[in-house]
Amino acid sequence: MQHLKIICPNGHLGFAPLRPESFEIGVNAQPDFIAADSGSDDVGPVPLGSDTSTSPEAWQRGDLEKMLLASRRLGVPMVIGSAGDTGSNSRVDRYVAIIKELAQQHGLKKFKLGYFYSEVDKEALRAKMRAGHEVLGLDGFATLTESELDATDRIVAMAGVHPYIELLRQGADVIIGGRSSDAAVFAAPALFHGFAEDRAYYLGKVLECASFCAEPYGGKETVMGTISHDDVQVTAMHPEQRCTIASVSGHAMYERSNPYEEFFAGGRLDMTHCHYEQIDPRTTRITGSRFEPAAKVRVKLEGAGKVGERYVGLCGIRDPYTVANVDRVIAWAREQARLRFGDSGYGLHYNVYGRDGVMGALEPLRDQPGHELCVMVQGVAPTQEMAEELTMIGLRQMFYARLPDVKGTAGSVAFPLDEVLHASPAYRWTLNHTVEVDDPMELFKTHLVEAGI
């Protein structure tokens, strides 16, 4: 095989629907694979901890349907990574079920459906730790302790290319992956077809976010990557978009602290010597990427742990004196919560919109608040009842704050609602770590079934 063409219609399948026009153009370009990643840790720890997705199933189903029908029509494989945002087992099962249902619904001819799981059993990880394997923290996280493991509800491991290649080897026509590196769903087909790691991983890197590597800015549009034995080429499929030297090289820095490198289970992509060339108005050619295999394979682990049940309340402030003294208003409400529930065992959080609600302590203008403020109160506690009462105290008592020189003595804040609202439980990231494995397949169990009729 001299060339392999892969189209990617969506950088985070399910989070917002793909755009059908450029997808259709991509399909008509006769790709060899249709692939997309469906995961992200950008959505915070709640989906992983509570084992949910951030978006309606209808959006996931809609994109899977378009991709599946195109893949079966062309007779080329479809590869999806990190099912349902988190890539947990329940998300893989959901996507597998959707594919089977779609195959029935559309009367698709029998095909092989491969999938793999990425969840890591807590006790298995504990056993590894006790056997002397250090679970090392990334980006400021300390080495994993057993107490932090105890505080964790769910862990997924970030697969590299290995389970995808294994399923392709078994003849899978459609692959649904558990949590995996975004790039793996594109790199694996290229590696499977004999292209070099140096370019296969770069192909994955450049395609992972679909049209984010194109300009003008516009997400969810299809792009096509072509790998050969000499280069990678990437082309925008939307008629108004172009993959330019600037947009493609710029994409390397998106969401990454270092634009020159990226780590995978099994090695590191080095983009230091990448050379970019505009070969037609919509296509950029990339050479010079390098892949450095790791001597020992370390797999990234993501874990989330529940902090407590959560309620949310909102109020507004318009009196300029109260605006200037909002911290005293909050301190008064906090004190009332403390008198009721003590010093610890709960969390009460305030975001003051109009002052520093978005940026918190990073806000340079926090001493120049607007003429009105919105305060969001979040109460987090072990039970729903306590979280509700805590949030109600934290909100309601702002109304009764005792400011010495206030003119308005009939209430310090404005309520848009009388109630506090039940929100998702609060979770936190407990694992952002790596663990060494002897076999890169160790944490990823693959399955192959039939779908269609």
């Binding site: 959505v43 820095m253 969401e255 978005v358 302590a361 979040q378």
Partner: protein, 106 residues
Amino acid sequence: MNTQKLSELAKTIRSKNAGVNKITFDIIFREAAQYERVKRSGAITRDSMAALYRIPVERISDFVEYDPGLAIKFTVYRLQPSGSAGDGDIFGAQQYAPLLDIAIPA
């Protein structure tokens, strides 16, 4: 040339999570001349960014002048991982605003 705001010179100024514990900032230019001018001005450095965001310089994990992308890029550690209760910006997507008005001398 007069003093200009960074937002008049850069084509893209953005922030976004880089993993769960860092936020990365990208300032991207259309023309090499503008990129070089901003680089040369010394207005965007590790120290000036720490001062702008009022954080100790150690909280900036990376500061890169990325020539292939005509971009200046720096990355800041969060105080708490993304999505912890109270985090006002789970994606880290709205932390760049203070960069827009930075004055770039002629």
